[in-house]
């Protein structure tokens, strides 16, 4: 069965989750600096979007979360959006694996791996765009800190994205917003 489209209810839930995540990131996580790096919750949400909603819907959710993340970052606007689209799309790949694709442990594991990969991807893309200091020794520390932070934050991130996606699943009115292919097939 095709997954439900991203509808108005899930859009509003996504907005609430993204806003809350932004506040948590800026006000709390940015303060928890370990050796010059801090945990990142928004990249986790993008990975969780892919793991929970699949590649195509996940990429769309990742794009929106990336645009929100870019609001507070000093890097070029759209860099996080591009990174999160790729992360969510890749994380959605686990849904093509055999077995229990909706199992929470698989989604959490995907989320953690996605956060690490997404951080690395952000650094590589930033370097390609000429941003200084993206690929150096400190990058390894950043990936490590983000991954350790993800161990704690992955469960609530997956739960939040499940709640967002449930908004689409439970839609009665079905004000569907095209999700770029598979959702409307």
């Amino acid at each position: 069965m095709a997954p439900p489209a991203v509808n108005l209810r899930s859009w509003s839930r996504l907005g609430a989750v993204a806003l809350l995540a932004l506040v948590v990131q800026v006000a709390v996580l940015d303060q928890l600096v370990v050796h010059g790096a801090h945990p990142e919750v928004l990249v986790l949400l993008a990975a969780a979007a892919g793991a929970v909603a699949g590649s195509q819907r996940g990429a769309m959710i990742g794009f929106v979360i990336g645009l929100v993340a870019d609001l507070v970052l000093p890097t070029p606007y759209g860099l996080s959006a591009l990174t999160y689209v790729l992360v969510a799309f890749a994380a959605g790949g686990v849904r093509s694996l055999p077995g229990d694709r909706d199992g929470r442990s698989l989604q959490v594991a995907t989320c953690i791996a996605g956060a690490a990969g997404g951080t690395l991807c952000f650094a590589v893309l930033g370097d390609l765009l000429g941003q200084p200091g993206m690929l150096d020794r400190q990058g390894a520390v950043v990936v490590l800190v983000v991954t350790v932070g993800a161990l704690v934050l992955a469960f609530p991130s997956v739960a939040a994205l499940r709640w967002v996606v449930r908004g689409a699943d439970r839609s009665v009115t079905g004000h569907a917003i095209p999700s770029g292919g598979s959702a409307t097939r």
Binding site: L22, V23, V26, A27, V28, D30, Q31, L32, V33, V34, H35, G36, A37, H38, E40, A59, M60, G62, F63, G66, L67, L71, V72, L73, P74, T75, P76, Y77, G78, L79, A81, L82, V85, L86, T119, F122, A123, G126, L129, Q131, P132, G133, M134, D136, R137, Q138, G139, V141, V142, V145, V146, G180
Partner: protein, 264 residues
């Protein structure tokens, strides 16, 4: 499609007018979030200090020992300091050095650690509303910490001297043995790299100051860093000079923004 959309957004950010619009939106978000940041930052500062203390326990202990020794030396030097200070004041007044020419400064508090994991920036609680604007130097009691990169109405982002895009014209030495160079940031916890040295090489332990010659980006005479190593390659062709910032950029809480703009 979404990859294309992202690339389009990125391209627009490099386009003049659209880029200004995006900057306005970003500033608006910063202003909206700053009250929350301030409140939570005040509450979390002790937690952050515990984190820093736990991860840098050895460094904190050695810093404590170093400070105790320094205190002893300072007490001994206090008496002669008063006389030296009078002399220095007279000399500086004659030289009209901009840094000591009573540049107006705005005190500010750090409300957020770096927002990016890859760039070394701080968020402070003063913006254009308090007269703080881009390119103004930011100092603490011990020396230069960076430059204002972006300002919204109520907050500003400071690019630290350790950021890889930071490059400062510096001077060192004495009246009879002075040199000029460029000090480049090398990233978190790394010393500054002192390059393009003209004149004699600096010696370990020497303090480097802003030279005021790099297009007037900084007033002259602000202390920046202390030289920690001077290494010349075997053939004597290249010399690597590193200098450690005087200010501990990890734990800084209060700063002053100098109302100084690059001189044309």
């Amino acid at each position: 499609m979404l990859v294309l959309a992202s690339i389009t957004v990125l391209t627009l950010d490099y386009h003049g007018e659209v880029s200004h619009g995006i900057t306005h939106i970003r500033n608006g978000v910063r202003d909206a979030l700053s009250p929350v940041q301030r409140g939570i930052s005040a509450a979390l500062h002790p937690v952050g200090d515990v984190f820093a203390g736990a991860f840098h326990y050895g460094a904190v202990q050695s810093e404590n020992r170093r400070l105790e020794q320094q205190l002893g030396k300072l007490q001994a030097a206090q008496a002669e300091g008063a006389f030296a200070s009078r002399q220095a004041g007279a000399v500086l007044a004659l030289a009209h050095l901009p840094f000591v020419a009573n540049i107006t400064s705005t005190p500010a508090e750090v409300i957020s650690a770096p927002t990016s994991n890859f760039q070394y920036l701080l968020e402070i609680d003063r913006g254009t509303g308090a007269g703080v604007g881009p390119r103004m130097p930011v100092v603490s009691g011990r020396g230069l910490i960076g430059t204002v990169a972006v300002s919204s109405a109520s907050t500003s982002t400071v690019r630290l001297i350790t950021d890889k895009s930071s490059s400062i014209g510096v001077t060192f030495g004495t009246a009879t043995r002075a040199g000029n160079a460029i000090a480049d940031g090398q990233g978190f916890a790394e010393p500054l790299s002192v390059q393009e040295i003209s004149g004699p090489l600096p010696v370990v332990g020497e303090t480097v100051f802003t030279s005021g010659t790099d297009g007037g980006a900084y007033p002259a005479g602000i202390p920046i860093a202390r030289v920690t190593s001077v290494k010349t390659s075997a053939g004597g062709l290249t010399t690597t000079v590193n200098a450690r910032p005087l200010v501990n950029l990890d734990t800084i809480q209060y700063v002053s923004v100098l109302e100084w703009l690059p001189q044309p």
